[in-house]
C-alpha cells in the first residue's frame, strides 16, 4: 500500500469509529467529543484538473490542525469545501452538519485571498464584520489581539501588507468562533507580527477554539499544530503530530561543516573514512559535499566532538559547524518530492519520500 493510500485509509478508519449518528435530515448528531470537522472521500475538480482527489480529514475539538502542501496541492479548495463556499463531492461535516447548515456564529474564516471593502478603517472593518453576527466581541480588544490597536483609525488601503493581513485576521475572530479557518494567516507579516498571531492562535486554542490552519511557514505549523496533514496533488500524503511526522519522515540530525569553498569528493571520502575508523563511533556515516562544505548525517549531539575529531584526522580545515535536527520542513520536502539537494544547492523534483522519479 503506498503512503497516500495508507494515510487515507487510516484517517477513514478513525472517522468510522468516531462518527456521530445521522438523523433523517442527514445531519449528524454531534456530541462534545465528536470531531468538529469530518471530510471523507472529498473530491473536487476544476475541469479535468482534480484539486481534491479523495481527501479524508478529521479535526477534533480544541485541536489546532495544520494543513500543508505545495502551491496547487488543494489546501484552499479543501478550506472552501469545509466552509461551504465551493461544491465538493464526498462526505463533509462541520459540527455534525453539512458546511452550509452550520450556525455561522460558530465559524470564523480568513480566506487566503481576501480584500475587504475599500475606504474603511481597520476599526470600521472589524465593526462591520462584527455587526453581521448575533453576538460579537468589542472591536478594541480584537484589534489589540492582532497588534493593530495603534493603527485602528487608518484606512485599510494605507496599511502595510502585514497590517492588512492582521486586520483580516481580526475580522475572522470578531465573532468569537468555535472553529476558526485560517488560510495562510501570516503571509506578508513581519516576524514580530507573526509572533503576535502565533500567540493569538495558541491562546484561542487554549480557550477551546478549534483551529484549521493552512500555511507555507513550516516553523509556524510545527510550533502551533497538534496534528498536521500534508496534501500533495489533492491527496493526503501523511497525517500526524509534527513530532511523529518528523520522526517518521524527517530523516536524521546533521552537522553542516562550512569550509572555505566547496568540498571535493576526496574531502568527503577522507572524513567518511575517519568516521568509519571508529573515531566518531558511527557505523555508516553519511557524508556529502555541499556548496558550502560538507554535510555529515546522523550525528547526535553527543557525537559532535567525535565528528570534529574526524574532520581534524582527515585534515579538513573548517570555518564553522552548525548542527540541526530534522524539522517539519524536511518532512515537507521529502514527502512532496521537492527535497533540497545539498550538492547543487537547488531543489530538485524527486519522487515522494526521497526516491527518484
Amino acid at each position: 500500500m503506498n503512503e497516500t493510500a495508507a494515510a487515507s485509509a487510516s484517517a477513514a478508519e478513525d472517522g468510522e469509529t468516531d462518527r456521530g449518528t445521522t438523523d433523517a435530515a442527514g445531519v449528524d448528531a454531534a456530541t462534545d467529543s465528536s470531531p468538529v470537522v469530518v471530510g471523507e472521500g472529498v473530491r473536487k475538480s476544476y475541469g479535468e484538473v482534480a484539486a481534491l482527489d479523495g481527501v479524508d480529514v478529521r479535526v477534533e475539538p480544541g485541536e489546532v490542525f495544520g494543513l500543508i502542501g505545495p502551491n496547487g496541492a488543494g489546501k484552499t479548495t479543501l478550506v472552501r469545501a469545509l466552509t461551504g463556499t465551493t461544491e465538493a463531492e464526498g462526505k463533509l461535516r462541520v459540527f455534525g452538519a453539512s458546511p452550509r447548515e452550520v450556525d455561522p456564529q460558530r465559524i470564523g474564516l480568513l480566506p487566503q485571498s481576501f480584500d475587504p471593502p475599500e475606504r474603511l478603517t481597520a476599526s470600521e472593518l472589524v465593526d462591520y464584520y462584527g455587526g453581521l453576527y448575533d453576538a460579537a466581541r468589542d472591536t478594541e480588544p480584537v484589534l489589540r489581539d492582532v497588534g493593530m490597536a495603534d493603527d485602528a483609525d487608518a484606512w485599510y488601503e494605507t496599511l502595510s501588507g502585514g497590517q492588512q493581513r492582521r486586520t483580516c485576521v481580526a475580522t475572522a475572530i470578531v465573532n468569537d468562533p468555535d472553529l476558526l479557518f485560517l488560510d495562510e494567516p501570516t503571509t506578508g507579516i513581519d516576524p514580530a507580527g507573526r509572533r503576535s498571531i502565533h500567540r493569538l492562535i495558541e491562546r484561542l486554542a487554549g480557550d477551546g477554539t478549534t483551529v484549521f490552519l493552512t500555511s507555507h511557514a513550516m516553523d509556524e505549523v510545527e510550533r502551533l499544530a497538534d496534528r498536521v496533514a500534508l496534501l500533495r496533488d489533492g491527496a493526503v500524503v501523511a497525517v500526524g503530530a509534527p513530532d511523529e511526522l518528523i520522526a517518521e519522515h524527517g530523516g536524521e540530525p546533521s552537522l553542516e561543516v562550512a569550509l572555505d569553498g566547496p568540498a571535493d569528493e576526496a574531502d568527503a571520502e577522507s572524513v567518511r573514512d575517519a568516521l568509519s575508523d571508529g573515531a566518531a563511533g558511527a557505523s555508516s556515516p553519511a557524508v556529502e559535499s555541499t556548496r558550502e562544505g560538507l554535510r555529515i548525517g546522523g550525528v547526535r549531539p553527543e557525537e559532535i566532538g567525535d565528528a570534529v575529531d574526524a574532520l581534524e584526522a582527515a585534515g579538513v580545515a573548517f570555518e564553522s559547524l552548525a548542527w540541526s535536527e530534522p524539522s517539519l520542513e524536511d518532512v515537507y520536502l521529502r514527502l512532496t518530492g521537492e527535497e533540497y539537494s545539498p550538492r547543487s544547492g537547488e531543489f530538485g523534483e524527486t519522487a515522494p519520500d526521497g526516491g527518484d522519479r
Partner: protein, 251 residues
C-alpha cells in the same frame, strides 16, 4: 443581530465606502448634471419642429431621471459584485449570517439614497436651466416611490449582470449594452410616434417604459400612474429575487 440589523450594517459600510471614494461620488452626480446641461440648456427642445427633442422641455424630465435610475444601479451593483468576487468578500460573507438577499437589499438601499439625491439635483437643474415646469400636485409624492422602485429593479438587473460577467470590465460593457437601448427606446427621449409601429411591443416590454410613463403622468401630463407603478413594482420584485439568487456564494 436581526435581519434589519444586518442589512443596516451592510448598508452603512457600503455607503461609507462609497462616500469616501471622491471620484466615484463626483462623477455619479456630475453625469446627470452634464446631461441636463447638454440636452436641456445647450441643445434645447424644439417644440414646433420635428425629429428628436421636438417635445416641450417637461416631456424629457422622466428621461433625465431615467439616466441615473438606470445607469447608476446597473453599473454600481454590477461592479460591486465583481469587486466582491475578486476580493474574496463573498467567500467571507458566506460564512456570516448575512444572506445574499440581505446583501442585495442593503446595496439597493444605498443606491436608492444616492440616486434619490441625484434625482433631486436633476429636478432642480431642469427647472433652473430649462423652461420645464413640473406639475405640482399631491401625486408628486409618488415620484420618490417611482424612483425607489425603479432603482430596486435595476439593482436586481445589475446583480444579474455582475454575476454573469467575469470581470469589472465585463460588467461595464454589459451594463452599457443593456442600458443604452433601454434609455433611448423606453418613451424617455424618443417619443413613441418617432418609432415604427412594429417596434412598439419592444417599447412596452422595457421596464423603463413604465417608469417614464408613470413619472411623466406625475410631473408633465397629469394622468393615471398607479398601473405603471404596479407593473414596475412587480418587475422590481422579480428582478430583485433573481438578482439575489444570482449573487455569488461559491466560486
Amino acid at each position: 443581530m436581526t435581519r434589519v440589523g444586518r442589512i443596516a450594517t451592510e448598508a452603512s459600510a457600503a455607503s461609507r465606502s462609497f462616500l469616501r471614494r471622491r471620484t466615484a461620488v463626483f462623477f455619479t452626480f456630475f453625469f446627470p448634471v452634464i446631461l441636463v446641461l447638454i440636452f436641456g440648456a445647450l441643445v434645447q427642445t424644439q417644440p414646433t419642429g420635428g425629429g428628436l427633442f421636438a417635445e416641450p422641455a417637461g416631456y424629457y424630465v422622466p428621461g433625465y431621471l431615467a439616466v441615473v435610475v438606470l445607469f447608476t444601479p446597473l453599473s454600481r451593483v454590477g461592479s460591486e459584485i465583481a469587486r466582491h468576487r475578486d476580493g474574496g468578500r463573498f467567500e467571507k460573507l458566506a460564512t456570516t449570517p448575512l444572506s445574499r438577499a440581505e446583501w442585495l437589499l442593503a446595496h439597493t438601499l444605498v443606491n436608492v439614497a444616492i440616486i434619490g439625491a441625484a434625482s433631486l439635483l436633476i429636478l432642480a437643474l431642469v427647472v433652473v436651466v430649462t423652461d420645464a415646469k413640473p406639475v405640482v400636485s399631491p401625486a408628486l409624492a409618488a415620484l420618490p416611490v417611482f424612483v425607489a422602485v425603479a432603482v430596486a429593479l435595476f439593482c436586481g438587473l445589475g446583480a444579474l449582470l455582475g454575476a454573469l460577467a467575469d470581470s469589472q470590465d465585463g460588467v461595464i460593457a454589459a451594463s452599457n449594452t443593456v442600458a443604452l437601448p433601454l434609455l433611448f427606446l423606453s418613451e424617455t427621449f424618443v417619443s413613441p410616434g418617432l418609432l415604427p409601429e412594429w417596434f412598439l411591443p419592444a417599447v412596452a416590454a422595457s421596464p423603463l417604459t413604465y417608469f417614464a410613463r408613470g413619472t411623466r403622468a406625475i410631473v408633465y401630463e397629469p394622468g393615471p400612474w398607479v398601473g405603471d407603478l404596479a407593473v414596475l413594482s412587480v418587475l422590481a420584485a422579480v428582478f430583485l429575487a433573481l438578482g439575489a439568487y444570482a449573487v455569488p456564494r461559491t466560486d
